[in-house]
């Protein structure tokens, strides 16, 4: 479903992503881990078409994000780390706009919007201007907006930041349920227990280079630390001194 082929991105002399190679099949929850500045957000921005790779290509369900960005975008639901909303639109108006952008007619959009409002528990505030929302409310609205067109791929950049425990549970359940129904999830996160709990596979990136791809169990075996937590494994894998040895 997601195919990242030898993708490289440079910012001047700095190599942000180096020859990244990833294949993520349909229905998989993939957690992308790495320290700050490792290249996670750059990779996500290339996947959603905000950045253009210097080398290599990214395909979403066979659609190249550079040569055919509209078809690729039509298959993606994207949740950025900082959710931007139009302050002077209500939540419902924002959902209507987003549904329309993905080609839904008003008649098609209305029931789907109502469904998402219910799923994400937006009823209490969805008809208020979004400038009055808290961060958690905004995040839930952005999640609803990302799901309103029933994407095939959901890309999340730090989805749990600012969410209360109930909302976190809601998101986890949703990701599990939808991935079981065929949704592919690509998620960058620093919340390691989340990755451990819901990810089918994890990828660890450091200084733009992919250090590891596989399941948490495979990582344990590879590090020969069968009792270690993901946190311990991750710290070992991304530790500068240890890696240098």
């Amino acid at each position: 479903m997601i195919s990242i082929n030898n993708v490289t991105k440079r910012y001047d002399d700095k190599l942000a992503v180096d020859q990244l190679q990833l294949e993520i099949p349909r229905g998989e929850v993939f957690a992308f881990l790495g320290p700050n500045g490792a290249g996670k957000t750059t990779t996500i921005k290339m996947m959603v078409g905000l950045l253009i790779p210097d080398e290599g290509c990214i395909e979403i369900d066979g659609n190249n994000v550079v040569t055919d960005p509209r078809s690729a975008a039509a298959r993606i639901g994207y949740i950025p780390d900082q959710p931007h909303l139009y302050d002077k639109l209500t939540g419902r108006e924002f959902l209507e706009f987003m549904a329309g952008m993905y080609g839904a007619s008003d008649a098609e959009a209305a029931p789907e919007i109502d469904r998402q409002i219910e799923v994400f528990d937006l009823t209490a505030f969805v008809d208020r201007l979004s400038e009055t929302y808290s961060h958690g409310m905004k995040q839930r609205l952005v999640l609803a907006a990302a799901m309103v067109h029933q994407p095939q791929v959901l890309i999340l950049d730090e989805p749990m930041v600012g969410l209360d425990p109930q909302s976190m549970r809601l998101v986890k359940d949703l990701l599990k349920e939808r991935s079981a129904a065929g949704l592919t999830v690509f998620m960058s996160t620093h919340t390691l227990p989340l990755a451990e709990e819901i990810a089918d596979r994890i990828g660890v990136i450091r200084r733009g280079e992919l250090q590891f791809v596989g399941t948490v169990e495979e990582l344990k075996r590879a590090q020969n630390r069968h009792e270690a937590s993901l946190e311990g494994l991750f710290l070992d894998l991304t530790n500068e001194d240890a890696s240098a040895v």
Partner: protein, 580 residues
């Protein structure tokens, strides 16, 4: 909702309709907010705009009436008006173009909504056109505010037929769309081909603009000074405006079309309508061009410029910081650090200072050419009056600067208040540092500009005391406007806004601007009148000298009072302010 139907994509018409709905909804809720929360601001804004429009209309009406009386020869009159129109609209073409380019840059490369839109299947061409329309509408209201009193005054003086008035708006709008199209195209190309040299690009554009202005001004003023304002000079000047009369220029289409309509002998002004069609078709072509460039360049330029990690600040600028640090050494360390931070933030945000720089650049140009006039000793009173008028103009521009940039400083600090608010410093120190910053950046350029003006007017040689008075008044204005804007900024903050422009446009900003204008008049007018009479008495009138002394003292007192009162109000409010 089936994903398959989505992958086929929505039609361009449907996409445009969605963007229109988005715009209508945003405008509607903004207007509703505006009317519910800022009625006084609306009344003030409309009142001041109407007043400004009326003043411009009277000025243009009297000017055209004078032209008709002074130039009896009809063909010369027609040629003169055409030349005035051509130059006026060519200048506006440039100004609307530059403004639109800057606004487009802000709306696309500095705005978060494009980041969202680029992740949807929306066509980048539609996004570019949507933002172009926004930039055009924002840029052209000033143009219409300036252009409409001129055109209506001309129509009334010349008893123009009804269709002249009917055609005004379509002519102005289609012209604006071309001007904005040029600016937006320039911005897109610059951001695509030289994103890291955008500052240099804007500088080059500014130099080109000033160069063109210099060319015209040189043409006007290079003639023998003794012939200035004679009929021969007028003829020569008209000849030199030929560059603005190029028939390929949209400003020529606009001025010729409107003048044809004003003087049309037939019921239907065919030639005028033809030129309107030329303007409309070119405006539409500009829109198509922007759509095409948007589809080709927008995504990549956005990625290079915005979505990446940003362009590193060059180390070379550190010399400026070092120089400022040295300059600020006498101040306490905390104040010095906050000042340095504010100066850095100001310097690194071109949107904050480019338009201001343009204003001051044009003022410098004006002062430079003022010296071309030959002032005899008998015109000393006139020169003094011009000197004070220049002081007033600088003061008014300074007041827009303090309202636009200084007033919002406390409000936008609200978002980042956790930084300063949690430091072991008094809140009053923060306010004092803002005051020092504002006074510094207000007084220095104004004193320099006024000195330049006085040198150009040769006041320094002929009446140095007036030059000293000007400098005293400049410092008075600097302190008063800085105190007012900092104090009012703390007294009436808008902590919900992160955009300084929106904070400045709010009630507090509008009120500060109005009080600033009143203050400038109160500080400058009395000493100006007293100095005028003292100078025309050839420095012999004791009563006039006494009046100069009293008015200057009053101005200093007004300045002190208008610094202290708002600052006290600001301190009181800021000490107890809750920042959530």
């Amino acid at each position: 909702m089936a994903t398959n139907s989505i992958t086929a994509g929505i039609s361009q018409a449907k996409e445009a309709s969605l963007f229109r709905t988005l715009r209508h909804r945003l405008i509607r809720s903004m207007l509703r907010d505006f009317l519910q929360q800022s009625r006084l601001r609306v009344v003030l804004l409309l009142g001041l705009t109407a007043l400004f429009w009326l003043a411009m209309f009277i000025l243009f009406y009297e000017a055209f009436a004078l032209l008709v009386t002074a130039i009896g020869h009809a063909p010369t009159l027609a040629r003169t008006v055409h030349a005035v129109y051509n130059v006026f609209f060519l200048s506006l073409l440039f100004m609307v173009g530059v403004s639109s380019g800057i606004l487009f840059y802000g709306a696309v490369y500095k705005s978060e909504d494009v980041r969202l839109l680029l992740t949807t299947p929306a066509r980048t061409s539609t996004i570019a056109i949507f933002k172009y329309q926004e930039a055009m509408l924002l840029a052209c209201w000033g143009f219409i505010l300036l252009g409409s009193p001129l055109l209506i005054a001309y129509g009334i003086v010349n008893a123009a037929p009804w269709h002249y008035y009917l055609l005004l708006l379509p002519f102005l709008l289609s012209f604006s769309s071309i001007a904005a199209g040029l600016g937006v195209t320039g911005c897109l190309l610059l951001m695509y081909f030289a994103p890291r040299r955008r500052l240099q690009g804007i500088t080059i554009l500014g130099i080109v603009g000033v160069g063109i202005a210099c060319y015209f001004a040189w043409g006007v003023f290079k003639s023998d000074q003794n012939e200035m304002l004679s009929i021969f000079w007028l003829q020569q000047t008209l000849d030199r405006f030929q560059l603005a009369e190029q028939r390929m220029l949209p400003s020529w289409w606009l001025s010729t079309g409107l003048l044809e309509s004003a003087h049309s002998q037939t019921a239907i002004p065919y030639e005028s309508l033809g030129l309107l069609c030329v303007l409309i078709s070119n405006g539409l072509a500009a829109s198509l061009l922007i759509g095409y460039l948007g589809s080709r360049l927008l995504r990549r330029s956005y990625g290079n410029l915005v979505a990446g990690p940003g362009i590193p600040i060059r180390f070379q600028t550190a010399w400026l910081d070092r120089a400022i640090q040295r300059l600020l050494r006498p101040l306490p360390q905390v104040v010095r650090l906050i000042l340095l931070k504010d100066l850095r933030l100001f310097r690194r945000d071109p949107l904050q200072w480019t338009q201001f720089l343009l204003f001051f650049g044009l003022l410098c140009l004006y002062f430079f050419y003022v010296r071309r006039f030959n002032y005899a000793n008998s015109l000393m009173g006139w020169m003094t009056a011009i000197g004070f008028m220049n002081l007033g103009v600088v003061g008014l521009i300074l007041s827009t600067f303090t309202t636009r940039f200084v007033f919002p400083m406390i409000s936008i600090e609200g978002y980042r208040f956790w930084i300063l608010g949690t430091l072991p410093i008094h809140r009053t120190t923060i306010l004092w540092s803002k005051f020092f910053f504002a006074t510094l950046v207000s007084c220095l350029p104004c004193c320099l500009l006024i000195l330049l003006s006085d040198l150009a007017l040769q006041l320094w040689v002929r009446t140095p005391i007036v030059v000293i008075l000007h400098q005293i008044l400049c410092i008075c204005m600097g302190f008063a406007l800085a105190g007012l804007s900092v104090g009012m900024g703390a007294y009436l903050p808008n902590l919900k806004e992160s955009s300084p422009a929106r904070v400045a446009a709010g009630f507090g900003g509008t009120l500060t601007l109005v009080i600033s204008a009143i203050l400038i008049v109160a500080i400058i007018l009395p000493p100006a009148v007293a100095s005028y009479f003292w100078v025309i008495s050839e420095y012999t009138s004791r009563s006039a000298l006494l009046a100069v002394f009293i008015t200057i003292t009053t101005s200093i007192l007004i300045s002190i009072i208008s610094t202290i009162i708002p600052m006290r109000l600001g301190f009181r409010a800021f000490r107890t302010m809750e920042l959530r």
